[in-house]
Every structure is written in structure tokens, then in C-alpha cells.
Amino acid sequence: MALIELEDVRRSFTVRTRAGRLRRVKREVRAVDGLSFTVDAGECVGYIGPNGAGKSTTIKMLTGILVPSSGRLRVAGVDPARERTRLAQRIGVVFGQRTTLWWDLPLRDSYELARRIYRIPDARHRANLDRCVELLDLGALLDTPVRQLSLGQRMRGDLAAALLHDPQVLYLDEPTIGLDVVSKAKVREFLREVNTDRGTTVLLTTHDLTDIEQLCGRVMVIDHGRVVYDGGLGGLHAAGESERTLVVDLAEPRPAIEVPGARVVRVEGPRQWLAFPAQDSAAPLLASVAARYPLVDLSVREPAIEDVIARMYAEAVIG
């Protein structure tokens, strides 16, 4: 069942720029330019793209904050532009850099307000809160004023606040930005739990490839307001012709070794860097290296998301 549906959605802004001392020039910018996709219930989708690609404009339209210039848009059976407050009951939103919690009040008070504003029945509120508190390890923080929480603690607090009313869809805008490694891991674990156990549909924007790798079965890449890729992470690598890197430490320095299915891109003493297509498995390559040369150590490096996308754009321009 499609929970999010977009059909040829467009959204443009008029931007006024100063030209000269007094003159101003109006310019139309198409932030979203003919976007069509659907997301089924229970999916977890990574929504990525460079800054200014139209990600947050899309999220704002999906939450009903912004109205599309044209096209059809449905979320959980509701037209966001027309029924913003009804939609609000069915979605949860977390902005990584803007908290919805009350700065000077204990965390608990923000949840109490959510109960009243979202009109959540007492029993359900208690059950949901208990569950979030347990999974996000918030027990000790409930009576702490939000201003005293660390960034990671606050993000966990925000996640709980966004889920108390059992939303069908959860939008996350950069949920792990600025967090330390431990907090990132906790947030991801929780999101996986929410997605698989509760079946909540998740749409997240991120700059962190690991978020997508660990959470999302599907990635959508947007650029200049259009979807330029929609599929699995592996396919993204193929589409972008991205390469992973096998780093091997040989027993002794050698000239560039020769292995089928990979090419040496760098040699530094006994250490050599071998690039191979990202969708290929590293195992057979490793086996053939080990069969021919004595190995001391090895590691596999993932491609950076920016590189993958950048290469894809280059393709798109040529194609």
C-alpha cells in the first residue's frame, strides 16, 4: 500500500536578488521540478542529494508546511496542503538542528504537552512513553531540563516526542548530524526497531552514508529538484560506477600487483590500494590476492556518498 504518493510535484520560489544599489531582480527558482515517486507502508527510505537539491522543500511539502505549485501529493491518505492539522496526527517529524522540546522544562513536560496537543489516550501515551524511554535509555533524563541535555540526549528526546502519537510516517531531517559515534549508533538502532517492529514508514535525509547502509533498503537521490536515482544502495554504487577500495599490506614492498577484477590505484611501500566495483563482493578478490601474495593485513573502504553522487551527476550531464 502506498503511504506517500507524489505525482509530478513542482515547487518554485521567487528569489529577489540585489542588482546594483537599489534595483532588485526577481528570479524564479525551481526547488522541486516534477517529482514523482511512491513509498509503501513499512519502507525505510533514504532521501539524499547535495545541499539545495530540493530535499527540505520536499519534506516541507510532505508535512504540509509548504504547498506545491502544481502536482498531486498524498500522505497517509491526506492531502497535506489542505489538511495540515489532520496530517499532523499521522506523521512524526524530527529536525536534526531544531528541537521541538521545551528548553527550560524537564523532558517529561514536553511529552505531557504532546499528549494533550495530539490528544493521545492516557493508556496509549503511557505505553508508548515507557517503550521509548526503555529503548532510548531516557529514564534518568526525564526530570532534567532540556537545556542541560547533551546533543545526543536531546536527539533521543526529540525522537521519543515525535513517536508518542503513533505516527504512520516518520520524517527525519539529518537525525545524526553532530552526534558522537555512540549516540549515532543508539539512534540508528532505535530507528531500525521503529521501522521493523512497529512498521512505521521512515523517510530520512542525511549526509552520512552509514545511516543509509544500516537503515534503508531504498535510496532516492535528488538533484535540481528531480529524482536522479531510485533503488537499492548497491544499485546506487553501480549507477554511479562507484568503487570500493581494498587496502592490503603485503609482507614486503612490491611493484603494483596484478589481480583480475581490480586495479591498483596507489602504492606506498608494502601497502597497496586496489579499486574494485562497489557492487562486487570483496571475498573472491581477496582470495585471489591471498593465493598469489603473502598478506600481513587488509581492510575494505566504502566509497564516500558525495563521491558516488558526484560521479552520477557527471554521468547525467554527459547522458
Binding site: 504540509g64 529536525f95 531544531r98 513536560d109 494533550r116
Partner: protein, 275 residues
């Protein structure tokens, strides 16, 4: 239709109440600062009246009105502005919220945006002005020899309520402008605070065109001037029909319609052409 409208209004009031209660609790985290600010607020608001007192050391009447009569205007103007400011005054920070991107947080909650924004940063310290103005109104009534008739008795509460609504509409209408021009806050101040200052003085002090502007333009004259003419039995410098002196509720209703339209247009513009 009527039923859903009442339900929506009730939900708006409740949302306002919930958010205002959160802010009150927030501010009580700084209790001493709160008390100091309440006192400072009362003192600041009293300055205008001290100036009036000093003026009346040099004269017995200003524009043909005595000190207790001016105190009546001062009290009713301050009461209306103060109550409006208490209830919806925070809306004037809208431009800041748009710039900081925090307006979006209000828009993702299942409650009316206007109600939430009016309660935002709600502070009981704003009670300073209505308290001080109310006290002066009481003093003026004790010194004035009003010939109380039923219509005059009725005009008193009607005037305060309508005045509060009119000023609240000026706040909301002014804030709506910030959807297009986010630095319009100060402009709005000149209509709210400037308007209230004007209403502290008798209409006879000002140029007729200016007074006419407050009747037929921005209808501030209905806040206290026109009903006060009737209650205190003073001549109308514009010579308008007596009906105008009873028309405050009507003016307030028109203001509500205008402010609601402005707000809806502003919000639509933000969601339609936002940044």
C-alpha cells in the same frame, strides 16, 4: 458547520492555554528575575502617567479635559492594550521565527498555528500594564462624578472587551505583514503602542483629520474615545452621530474579520511562497 466552527474555536483556546501554561512554567524557573521584571514593567508603564501628573501641575485642563478624565482615558487605553498584549502580544515575534526557521515547528503540530503563536513566550509579567491601568481607572472613577445610567453601565465592560479585541486585531494584523516583510515589527509598534499613547490623551488635543483617521481608518477611537464621550458626557470634536459612541462591538467585529483575513492571506503566502 456552526458546530465545527465552535469546536475549532474551543480547540484554539485550549491550544493557546496549553502553550501558555508551558511558558508560564518555563519562566517560573527564573522566579526572581520574573518578580523584578514585573515591577520594572509596572514602573515603566507608570512613567507616562507621572508625566501627565507633572503636566497637570501647570494646568487644570488639557484640551478641555480634567486630570481624572484623562486618567479615565489612560486607564481604559492601558487596560485594552495590556490585555491584548497579554493574550496575543507574542505574535509580534513572527518575523524572527520565520528567519530562524522555528515557525515550521509550530506548523507540524496538530493545533491552530495562530493560537500557538499567540501563546508563544507568554509571560505573566505582562500583567504589569493591565494591573497598573486598572488601578488608575478605579482611581479615576472614584474621582469622577459620572451620572450612571443603564447604557453607561453597560458601556463600561463593552468598552474594555471591544478595546481588547481591537488591539489584539492590530497585533495580529501587524504580525501578518511580517509574512511578507519580516522586519515590520517596529511598524506595528507604532500602531499598538503609539495608538495606545494617543488614546491616553483627549481627542480634542489632536488634529481633526487624525481623529477622523482613528474612526474611519484604523478604528482605535472605538477602544475608548467614543464610548468615553458618552460615559463622561463630553462633546464630540467631530460631531458624529451618537450611535458611534455605542458602536465599539461592531468595530471590534469588523477588526476581527479584517485581522483573520490578513492572517490567512499571510499564512497562505508563507506556505505558498515561503523561503
Amino acid at each position: 458547520m456552526a458546530e465545527t466552527l465552535t469546536a475549532r474555536a474551543a480547540w484554539s483556546v485550549r491550544s493557546w492555554w496549553l502553550v501558555a501554561a508551558m511558558w508560564t512554567r518555563s519562566i517560573m524557573a527564573y522566579r526572581i528575575s520574573f518578580t523584578l521584571m514585573l515591577l520594572a514593567n509596572i514602573a515603566t508603564n507608570s512613567l507616562d502617567f507621572v508625566v501627565l501628573l507633572l503636566m497637570f501641575r501647570h494646568t487644570d485642563t488639557l484640551g478641555g479635559w480634567t486630570l481624572p478624565e484623562l486618567a479615565f482615558l489612560y486607564g481604559t487605553s492601558g487596560l485594552a492594550l495590556g490585555l491584548a498584549n497579554l493574550l496575543v502580544g507574542s505574535i509580534d515575534a513572527l518575523g524572527q521565527r520565520i528567519r530562524a526557521g522555528t515557525l515550521d515547528i509550530v506548523l507540524i503540530r496538530p493545533a491552530p498555528a495562530l493560537a500557538q503563536l499567540c501563546a508563544e513566550r507568554f509571560s505573566l509579567r505582562r500583567l504589569g500594564r493591565p494591573l497598573q491601568a486598572g488601578a488608575l481607572l478605579a482611581w479615576s472613577l472614584s474621582r469622577l462624578d459620572v451620572h450612571w445610567t443603564p447604557d453607561r453601565l453597560l458601556l463600561m465592560p463593552m468598552m474594555v472587551c471591544a478595546g481588547t479585541v481591537i488591539f489584539a486585531c492590530v497585533f495580529i494584523g501587524g504580525a501578518s505583514v511580517q509574512f511578507w516583510w519580516d522586519e515590520a515589527k517596529e511598524l506595528q509598534n507604532s500602531f499598538t503602542y503609539g495608538g495606545a499613547t494617543m488614546l491616553q490623551y483627549p481627542p480634542t488635543v489632536f488634529a481633526r483629520e487624525l481623529v477622523a483617521g482613528t474612526v474611519f481608518g484604523l478604528p482605535l477611537a472605538f477602544v475608548n474615545w467614543l464610548p468615553a464621550l458618552r460615559i463622561l458626557d463630553k462633546p464630540d470634536p467631530l460631531g458624529l452621530p451618537a450611535a458611534f459612541q455605542y458602536a465599539s462591538p461592531l468595530a471590534a467585529a469588523l477588526c476581527v474579520l479584517a485581522a483573520a483575513a490578513a492572517w490567512r492571506a499571510g499564512l497562505r503566502a508563507y506556505r505558498g511562497t515561503g523561503s
